[in-house]
Each structure stands twice: as structure tokens, then as C-alpha cells.
């Protein structure tokens, strides 16, 4: 019992010393953090952002973050984060407020839809710097379906989707549910395209960038493109970044840097490097 007490006391002393030295190093770190720009990007989201086998963050959004930081003369620190139930949750946790478990928010979050409706609803963040357009496309196996597949082709043919996506919601409801029984659900686009390669299904519907990148070289064997989809709520949307509304200085410098990266072709090159085609955001076409 006595021995135990001495040990406790020793440990306390040790703790005190460690605590002091930790304080010192934290202060030193604070001085150096000013040249680091903290980004948040979604985890497990190829080809946009994911943890590579070497443990490092990789992907289109990660490359964009690094390019933005470089433009601003800063170092990018990239945190891969879990997507919550809705975008509003993600903005709260990773952009403007933080969370009691995951800690303070990042400076910039990538892959945020650039959408007027969203801007009206969310006043805590600035939606800025649109860098690409994402599209809902169908990758069809014309070997199985013939030359000119339409949405109605899937009254009788299996089509794969990632669960809880625009493609999923659309196909389950379209044509009074006539496609519903042929919709095959996967937890990711990568799983769906694997099934397509094995001819377990005849097509995959989903985000173009994900489909193209996951098919890789095999994409030449599929007809990939927009289809006439009567009644779809949102066939395409722009992607940009979010910055906390009060952070005006950062907002402006990110805008300027992104304009440059889009105009000089850096963003297009990044998409191409990851096996995806590039589509200029509608917002940029509109103001030109």
C-alpha cells in the first residue's frame, strides 16, 4: 500500500514534468502551424479521396488541396473524414463548428456541391470555387444490350447502383417503379463496376468520375454517357469547396487560387491523371 503511494507520487511528478514540456512544444508548434492549411476530404471515396496502401491520402480532391495550398504558399494537411447522414452534418462537423469527439473543424472542405439552393439554406459557410461538374451517367455493356440502350431498356435488364444515391432513388421511382425489380444495389460504385465486368449486370448508373476511374482501362468497352432520364431531380451538379463564413480572407484567396488552377488546366490534368474525364462546372460556363 505504501509502496503504491510512492509510485503514484513518482508518476504524478513525472506527469507534471511531461505536461510542462508538452506545453512548451505545443507553443512552438503553434508558431509553425500558420503555414499549414487544413483540408477535410471524404475518406474511402475513390478516385476523389481515400487512404492509399502506404497510409497516405490520395485522389483527385487530395491533389486539388495540395495544388491550392501550393498556390497560397502553404503546406496542405489533409484529413480524411467520414461522411455523416447529410451534407449539413458534414459542414457543421468539419467546416464551421467541429464536434466533441472529432475535434475542431478544418479550414477548407473539398467536394462540396456548389448549389444556389444550398447557399440560401446554409449561412454558416461560404460555398465557393467551383472546380468541376459531376454527372449522373450510365455505363452500358452494349455487348449485352445492343447499340442504343435507353432508360426503358432496364424494364428488362439488370442495372447496378450505389445505394442511397441519385441514381438509386431515380431508378426505384421512375416509370411508376417499372425498373425497381431490376435495380441491383451495391455499397460502392467500385463493387458495381466489378459486377459489370463479370457481366452479372448489364449497366451501372452513377457519378461519372467514379464509374470511369473504377473501370480503368476497361472503360473503352462500355458506352458511358448521359441518358434521357424523365423526371430525374438532379442529373448533374457542380463541385466546389466550403470555408467558414467568417473567414473572409481565406475565402478570397481560395477563390483566386482556384480560378487560376481551373484556367491553367491544372484541375483538368488532375482528373485525367486519375483516369477520369473532366467537365467544366456549369457555374463557370454560365459566367463566361
Amino acid at each position: 500500500m505504501l509502496k503504491m503511494k510512492i509510485k503514484c507520487a513518482n508518476l504524478l511528478l513525472l506527469c507534471g514534468v511531461l505536461f510542462l514540456s508538452m506545453q512548451v512544444s505545443a507553443d512552438a508548434q503553434a508558431e509553425t502551424t500558420s503555414d499549414i492549411l487544413k483540408f477535410a476530404a471524404y475518406d474511402n471515396f475513390p478516385p476523389y479521396s481515400y487512404q492509399a496502401e502506404n497510409g497516405k491520402a490520395e485522389g483527385i480532391d487530395v491533389d486539388i488541396a495540395r495544388a491550392l495550398a501550393e498556390e497560397l504558399g502553404l503546406k496542405a494537411s489533409i484529413r480524411l473524414v467520414f461522411a455523416d447522414e447529410s451534407l449539413e452534418d458534414d459542414l457543421r462537423v468539419y467546416v464551421w463548428k467541429g464536434h466533441h469527439v472529432t475535434g475542431p473543424p478544418a479550414d477548407v472542405m473539398l467536394h462540396i456541391p456548389y448549389d444556389q439552393y444550398l447557399m440560401k439554406r446554409e449561412d454558416k459557410v461560404n460555398f465557393i470555387a467551383p472546380y468541376s461538374e459531376e454527372q449522373v451517367v450510365v455505363a452500358a455493356d452494349t455487348e449485352q444490350l445492343g447499340g442504343n440502350p435507353q432508360i426503358t431498356t432496364f424494364f428488362t435488364n439488370k442495372i447496378g447502383v450505389e445505394r442511397v444515391t441519385m441514381a438509386d432513388g431515380y431508378l426505384l421511382g421512375a416509370y411508376q417503379g417499372r425498373i425497381r425489380d431490376n435495380v441491383v444495389h451495391y455499397y460502392s460504385i467500385a463493387e458495381a463496376t466489378q459486377a459489370l465486368l463479370k457481366k452479372e449486370i448489364t449497366a451501372v448508373m452513377g457519378a461519372r468520375t467514379e464509374i470511369e476511374a473504377s473501370l480503368g482501362d476497361a472503360k473503352a468497352n462500355y458506352q458511358i454517357g448521359l441518358m434521357s432520364m424523365p423526371g430525374i431531380a438532379k442529373p448533374s451538379w457542380d463541385l466546389g469547396v466550403a470555408v467558414k463564413a467568417s473567414n473572409e480572407k481565406l475565402t478570397n484567396s481560395i477563390k483566386t487560387a482556384m480560378d487560376k488552377l481551373v484556367e491553367n488546366g491544372t484541375i483538368k490534368q488532375i482528373f485525367n491523371n486519375h483516369g477520369a474525364s473532366y467537365h467544366v462546372p456549369a457555374a463557370r460556363i454560365n459566367y463566361q
Binding site: 500500500m1 471524404y42 472529432t102 448549389d115 442511397v164 444515391t165 432513388g169
Partner: protein, 584 residues
């Protein structure tokens, strides 16, 4: 540097824990026997301990103790308060257990404490290390653990089932319940059925398939798995053990593969019929129009054989569910007039009395004033009589505008939620912690998830009445008669307890722990614990005195989802303690 400081802190704490054990050792060694399967089966009648969630595996939250009663309750006062400490406050939703003079209780952030039940001194503490980046849906809560032999078994936010040695808080075994990165989580207390520990899993909002599992409680070996959605195959000792339901009987296409049905709350075990009764969560995706059919066995009580994990019967509360009325509320076994019955107060606002030998409906009646989605339950078919308040199909209105708003009661927080009601064997009444809230629902032209467009819905929660949201209500389960109600301004979010002292105990977000007359609802006693109560009380006898314990610490789902309800809970401070009472 950081890891060093953490190592130091835990080393320091560990040495305190060891010191504490030396003090407590004579007491625990003299009564060293672990908790047996019989102790657990008999828990409801043995007054010297509480060794199961629900104060008895049938989940009645009833104690035959009457030393504290309606005559002497005025002198009930705190014996001690135990702080869960640190900066880690937030919702304390646990029900404590007590055995051999030691209280075992879980606290927020997956901490476990063993406390000397007489003095309130800590014996040991276990702190689970949560993985970086974990994002719990509904606060960092835990609802309690199970005792078996020398083990305290509980689930974690990162979906592990952990057995600690009751002597020192060291991990004896661990089992994985799923991938927390995919949304699996565990917040509910496991239960013991015979020699198995049974637990479900949370995460239905991420489209995981509900799974109930039975493990060998002593070793942690997986014995059986029972998926809660039809079409999926269960296992027994690692081999296929039959499909849940019949493929595509109540689900279109392959939606059953991603169908939800998470059994995220705690179930009950009825030793009389050797049946586990466990509630299941809502089906996925949220839009009911996409999955025409009843969508079994989402929003149901499933009755499961504890040895094999086979489903014996089921009862579904909300077919083709559309309002987020999880059916996970406890199904409590009780007997009446020689009949073996079960009672269930559902999120959907209706109270169901079932025959627990076959799942047939005996009676059903509303326990909330407002239930606009359904007028009544058809007693012949057991199905709700819907009023047409089903949220619209977003596929019908893809015109880029916000859909029309419908106001529905109850809200998705439910007529009641995770918290356990109580049953008095003396009055024959059930005491239900009810809430009167409604919600506005509309289809959004577009919502986004993980940076991608999706067809989603918007919602906003609001109170139904000006003067109260919560109400403790007493019902006769056979006639549906409401015997009394005690209104409360803020929503009730904690468990209830009934005792032979003609008392019913419950806590409020305002911080009060209250006792009311079990026959009339007359308030007889209250004590303010200093923070909101969202946990469940217990009572036991020790050294000739009756003790009562309740966790205090505001948090959990209400402050996260509050909407207009938030106004009723403004100014409630956080806390984190266990308050223990006795007569003076």
C-alpha cells in the same frame, strides 16, 4: 509527446485502481462467487442485487422492495454522489448494475466504473479508446452492461463487445460487431439469456443490415447470428442456419440486401417461454414509396430462440414504415389472468399487448394524445389504420421545388424512445415515459450526401401542446385505460422504475429525480440531481437498508435534434454522476 502523456495518465489511474482494489478486496473475496445464469433468471425476485438490464430479464423494472415506500419517502436523501469526472460529461443513459456490494455502471465515451456500493468510492475505471474520426450518430452515450460470472460485458461506439474482469476492469475478451467506418455502432446494454450474451447493433441510417448475435458469455465465442431482414441467412456455430423470413415476400427487388432493421436497443429474455424478444429499427431507404411491401422484419419485435437464434414469431408495428418510427422499444414480459403476455409501447404512439407464446395481438391503444399518422390499430389484423399522412413520393414531384409540408404526430423521436417503461406487479399497470411531439415533413428538391445529390426529405420537430412535452402515464395493459398522467415541460428521456413501496421513480431533463404514488400519480418526493436525467434508476438492499441509484447527466438525442423543442431545454447544464439515495 502526446502519447507519452496519455500513457502517464492511465498509469497513474491504474495505480489508483489497484490501490482501490486492495481496500475493497476483503468484501468482494468473502462473497467471491460470480454471477450465475440462475442469479440472472431470478434477478427480479432477489432484492440484494441487480444483475440484469431491466432489473430482471423480463424487463419489468420492478422491485418487490418496500422499505422505501409512500409513507416514508419524505426522508429519502442522497447517501453519496459519484462523479464520472473529467471533461467527459454529455449524456449518461446507463442503467447501473449492483452485485456483491459493487456497482457497475457505464458512462459517456464508453467508460466503465466499479464503485463500492456502500461508500461511493471508486474501485476501478475502464476507459475505452475510441478510434480517431469516429462520429457517433446520437451522442457518445451507452445504456449499460451485463454481468455474467466474473465478467462485465458491454458494447462500444466503435462496435465492439467487450468483457471486463469484474475484479479489476481488465479486458478478458473482445468481439467485433461490425465496421464502425461503415456506420456500425453499439450503445445498448447486452442481455444474458441462459449462458449466452445477446446484443444487436446500431447504424440503420447507414443502410447496414440489422443483426442480432448470441455469444458464449464466458468465452465470447460467437454461437449464432440472426439477420433481422428477410432474405438473409442466419448462422449457428459457423454454419448456415436458415433464412430470415421468405425471400422477396415483403420486399421488392434486391432492396432487402440493404434494408436496415437495426436492433439498436436492448431486448428482453423471458425464461418462462425461453424466448428472447428484441425490437428492430426502421427499414432503408427512408422513402417508403421505393420499397412497396411490409418490409419484414423491420419495425417489429422478433421472438428468438436463445440456443439457435431462430425466429419463433414476430409482430410488426408499422408496415412499410415511412416516419422513422423505429420498433426498438422494449417488449416486456408479464402475466395476467394466467396468460403469458408481453407489452410494448412503440415509437409510433401505440401500446401493444401481445400473447408472448405466439405473438398474437391481445390489445392495442394509443398512449399519446396525438397520433395523426394512424387513427387506431385494427385488433383483428394488428395493422394500423392509416390516415393518409404518409410523406409524399419525391419521384412524383421532381420539379425543383420544395414539396408540400405535412405535419405528423408523433415525431420521429417517437411517442416514447429507447427508455424503458416499468410494470408494477402490485397495481398491474405499465408506467410509460411518453412525449407529445410532432414533426413537419417535406420533400426537398435536392439534398446532398457525401458531396453527391440525393432525393431527401426535410423535417422539423415541434411540441404539440404549449404546457408540456413529456408525460409519465400509467396504463392498464388489458383495457387501455389511462389511470393517471404526470406532465413534464421537457421531453422525458430516461427509464422508469416501479417498486412494492407503491412508488414509481423517474427522472426529468430539468434534473429532478421524482417519486409518485403508483396508484394515483401524486408526486410524493423529488430531488434535483444538478443535471438532466436520461438514465435508468435501480434499487437494491444492502446491510438491511434499501438503496436507489440513478445516473445524472444531460445529453443524448434530444439536444441534438431538438428543433423548436430546444426552447424547452435551454439552460440545462451538463453533468456526469451517479446519485445514490437511502432513507435518513
Amino acid at each position: 509527446m502526446k502519447s507519452l502523456s496519455i500513457a502517464c495518465e492511465s498509469g497513474f489511474l491504474k495505480s489508483i485502481a489497484i490501490a482501490g482494489i486492495l481496500v475493497a478486496a476483503p468484501m468482494s473475496n468473502s462473497l467471491a462467487a460470480g454471477v450465475t445464469a440462475d442469479d440472472i433468471k431470478n434477478d427480479a425476485t432477489t432484492t440484494g442485487d441487480v444483475v440484469s438490464y431491466g432489473m430482471g430479464t423480463q424487463g419489468q423494472r420492478w422491485s418487490p422492495l418496500a422499505k422505501i415506500n409512500d409513507k416514508n419517502i419524505k426522508t429519502l436523501a442522497p447517501a453519496y454522489t459519484f462523479s464520472f469526472g473529467g471533461e467527459k460529461m454529455r449524456g449518461q443513459e446507463a442503467q447501473p448494475l449492483v452485485h456483491n456490494g459493487v456497482i457497475y455502471v457505464t458512462a459517456s465515451y464508453n467508460r466503465v466504473f466499479a464503485i463500492n456500493a456502500e461508500t461511493g468510492m471508486q474501485i476501478w475505471k475502464y476507459e475505452h479508446r475510441l478510434p480517431e474520426g469516429i462520429l457517433p450518430c446520437c451522442d457518445v452515450i451507452n445504456r449499460g452492461g451485463a454481468l455474467f460470472d466474473n465478467l462485465f460485458i458491454f458494447g462500444t461506439l466503435d462496435a465492439e463487445l467487450i468483457a471486463l474482469d469484474t475484479a479489476n476492469g481488465k479486458v478478458v475478451w473482445k468481439q467485433n460487431l461490425g465496421d464502425f467506418k461503415a456506420g456500425h455502432s453499439s450503445t445498448a446494454a447486452p442481455i444474458i439469456a441462459e449462458d449466452k450474451v445477446i446484443i444487436g447493433v446500431a447504424g440503420g441510417e447507414f443502410g447496414i443490415i440489422g443483426m442480432l448475435r448470441g455469444f458464449d458469455a464466458k468465452t465470447g465465442k460467437l454461437i449464432w447470428e440472426r439477420p433481422t431482414i428477410e432474405g438473409h441467412i442466419g448462422t449457428l456455430n459457423g454454419k448456415p442456419n436458415g433464412m430470415t423470413g421468405k425471400l422477396n415476400a415483403t420486399w421488392p427487388g434486391d432492396l432487402w440486401k440493404v434494408g436496415g432493421g437495426a436492433p439498436w436497443n436492448t431486448g428482453t429474455y423471458d425464461p418462462e417461454t425461453k424466448t428472447i424478444m428484441w425490437g428492430t429499427g426502421n427499414p432503408a431507404p427512408w422513402n417508403s414509396h421505393m420499397r412497396p411491401g411490409d418490409n419484414l422484419y423491420a419495425i417489429s419485435t422478433i421472438a428468438v430462440d436463445p440456443d439457435t437464434g431462430k425466429i419463433k414469431w414476430h409482430f410488426q408495428y408499422t408496415p412499410n414504415e415511412a416516419w422513422d418510427y423505429d420498433g426498438t422499444n422494449h417488449t416486456v414480459a408479464f402475466n395476467n389472468g394466467g396468460k403469458k403476455l408481453a407489452a410494448h409501447a412503440d415509437r409510433n404512439g401505440f401500446f401493444y399487448t401481445l400473447d408472448r407464446t405466439n405473438g398474437k395481438l391481445v390489445n392495442a391503444f394509443p398512449f399519446v394524445e396525438k397520433h395523426s399518422w394512424a387513427s387506431a390499430i385494427d385488433l383483428k389484423t394488428g395493422r394500423p389504420i392509416e390516415t393518409g399522412m404518409r410523406p409524399g413520393n419525391p419521384a412524383d414531384s421532381a420539379d425543383g421545388k420544395k414539396g408540400s409540408v405535412i405535419t405528423v404526430t408523433p415525431s420521429f423521436l417517437g411517442g416514447t424512445n429507447w427508455m424503458g417503461m416499468a410494470y408494477s406487479q402490485n397495481t398491474g399497470l405499465f408506467y410509460v415515459p411518453a412525449n407529445e411531439m410532432g414533426m413537419d415533413l417535406w420533400n426537398e428538391p435536392v439534398t446532398y450526401k457525401k458531396g453527391a445529390a440525393y432525393m431527401g426529405a426535410g423535417f422539423s420537430i415541434k411540441p404539440v401542446f404549449d404546457d408540456y412535452i413529456g408525460a409519465l402515464r400509467a396504463f392498464d395493459p388489458m383495457t387501455g385505460k389511462k389511470v393517471f398522467e404526470v406532465k413534464n415541460k421537457a421531453p422525458l428521456w430516461g427509464g422508469v422504475m416501479a417498486t412494492a413501496g407503491n412508488l414509481v421513480f423517474y427522472g426529468t431533463p430539468e434534473g429532478y429525480f421524482k417519486a409518485v404514488d403508483a396508484k394515483t400519480g401524486k408526486e410524493l418526493w423529488q430531488y434535483n440531481t444538478g443535471s438532466g436525467i436520461v438514465g435508468s434508476p435501480i434499487t437494491w438492499e444492502q446491510g438491511g437498508e434499501q438503496f436507489i441509484a440513478v445516473p445524472s447527466g444531460w445529453g443524448a438525442a434530444v439536444p441534438l435534434w431538438g428543433g423548436e423543442v430546444a426552447k424547452q431545454i435551454e439552460g440545462i447544464n451538463q453533468g456526469a454522476s451517479l446519485v445514490v439515495f437511502k432513507l435518513y
